[in-house]
Structure formats: C-alpha cells, structure tokens
C-alpha cells in the first residue's frame, strides 16, 4: 500500500484573524454611544450646613413666567440684560444671593437658560454669581410663608 505524501504547512492560519477582529470592532463601534455626558452642576446644600439665611429683601429674585419672560425684582427684563442689572449689586456684595423662581407652568428649558446665563457671569461681567438658589415649591411654602 502506498500513502500519498502531502506537504503539511507548519504555520498557524491567521488569515481569518483580521476578519474576526474587524467584526469585533464593528460591534464595539455600533454599541458605543456618543451620549451627551455633560451638563450644568447644581450643588445642593449639605446636610450639616446650616440653612442659608437669605432674606427675601436682600436677594435678587428672578421670576420666570409661563412664556419664558423674566421679571427681575418686579422689573420685566430680557435674558441678556440680567447680568448687567446684577453687576453693580455684585460689585457691592459679591455674595449677593440670586434666587431663580420659575413659575410652575413655565418650561424647564427657560430655567436652564437663566441658570446657564448666571453661571457665565464670570466670563461676561467679570464677577461670578456665587450664590444662586433655585428653591423648590415646597421650600418656598415652608420657609417664606
């Protein structure tokens, strides 16, 4: 009996490795989400902090009405006028508290617009608004009335 002798390659077949690797790449590329992972931080008072003693009269009150109109200390104002209004007050008292009071039926986006504007104060007027508070309805009812 005769065996036909065939040459056996002693190499590891790596030609499909790249295919497998590219399949994995495609999987990871598709499942990677370029999600929005940035936003405005909104620090809350710590538990042990004494509640800030804010007198209503001492602070600047920014009310946001239903359609997004702003009323700052009873004066209607546009968003880009707010920082100019705050500037002299902040020069006198850098810790001047600013309260944002969105109306319950206004949109969330307006509140974020105002908050963002106040956070940009350092860039726009050279003074940061250090004390921004956005009290919730329950807090308003509890502490103001």
């Amino acid at each position: 009996m005769r065996f036909s002798k065939k040459d056996v390659s002693d190499e590891i077949p790596t030609s499909s490795m790249a295919d497998i690797a590219f399949l994995l790449i495609i999987y990871f590329m598709i499942t990677t989400t370029f999600a929005a992972t940035r936003g405005l931080d909104f620090a809350l008072p710590k538990e042990d902090d004494s509640p800030p003693q804010v007198e209503k009269e001492d602070s600047v009150l920014i009310e946001i009405q239903r359609g997004g109109q702003l009323v700052v200390d009873t004066t209607p104002m546009k968003l880009d006028e707010v920082l100019e209004y705050l500037k002299p007050k902040l020069e006198r008292n850098p810790k001047k508290p600013v309260i944002i009071r969105p109306s319950q039926d206004s949109e969330y986006g307006y509140m974020v617009d105002v908050f963002d504007e106040l956070r940009q104060a350092e860039d726009k007027i050279g003074l940061p608004v250090q004390n921004i508070s956005i009290p919730t309805q329950r807090e308003v009812e509890q502490f103001w009335f």
Partner: protein, 144 residues
C-alpha cells in the same frame, strides 16, 4: 535587444499586521465604551457651560410627555409612576452611596412643576449634586 523575463513574483498584500492593528482598535473601543443606562430620547436644553458628568452617576429622566425613568447608574432605567416615587429611589441610592451624583435628563419643554417635584425629591433624599444634562449651545441658538 532581448529583455530577460524576470522572476515571476506572486502578488501578495502583506496582511500579517492587519490583525494587530484591528486588535489595537478593539482594545480602544473596549476601554472607551460606556453602556448608556438610560436610552430615553429627550430634547435637552442647550447651555454654554457644560461640565463633565462623572461615570456611574444615577439618572432621572423626564420625557416630554412627563414619563419619569430612574436608574442607579448600573442597571437600565425603569419607569416610575410619578415624581413622588423618585424620593424612595433616591433615598435607596443615597443609602448605599451618600456621595452619588444625580443626573437630571429632562426635556426642555417639560413643565417646570414636574422638574420641581423631582428636584425636591432629590433634595429631600439629601443628594449632594445634581447635574442638569444639556447639549452644547450653538452660535445660532444664542440669539434665540
């Protein structure tokens, strides 16, 4: 003049390093991948200031229709019946990690009342920091 026919060489593309390159890319994607815990699609408000939100933060999402979903940052988000239920969820999260950050992912058209009640629940649960998820404000958007 007679040209000598050279040696016949095989047409080969060198693919030996292809796998190495591919695996490098795989490693890159494996390291950078972060599975989104909340896949709710919302129209985020636009802000000029945007800070990086820490990974594994707990999510509270509020859609345009007022649906609220919560996630502790590990599991996929689940629907809760109302803003009141955010309090028990947040209290649980805070109990296991008092420094947990919360992310509020709310649609810009959501009535402020809903947001107010969610924020109030987080405040009552003694959350330290809330991030308001936003998208980049564009130049055209600034005038609006």
């Amino acid at each position: 003049m007679s040209l000598k026919r050279g040696q016949q060489s095989e047409a080969n593309i060198p693919t030996a390093s292809m796998a190495d390159i591919a695996f490098l890319l795989i490693i890159f994607f494996m390291l950078t991948i972060s599975f989104e815990v909340d896949k709710t699609s919302v129209d985020l408000p636009e802000t000029a200031i945007r800070l990086e939100i820490p990974k594994k933060a707990a999510y509270v999402s509020v859609t345009e229709s007022g649906d609220i979903r919560v996630s502790d940052g590990e599991a996929t988000s689940s629907l809760v019946p109302g803003p009141e239920d955010v309090l028990s969820f947040a209290a649980e999260v805070i109990a296991s990690n008092p420094d947990k950050e919360f992310v509020l992912k709310a649609d810009r058209t959501v009535p402020y009342e809903t947001v107010d009640r969610v924020v109030d629940a987080l405040k009552q649960a003694k959350a330290r920091v809330i991030y308001l998820l936003s998208q980049q404000e564009t130049i055209e958007g600034q005038g609006a």
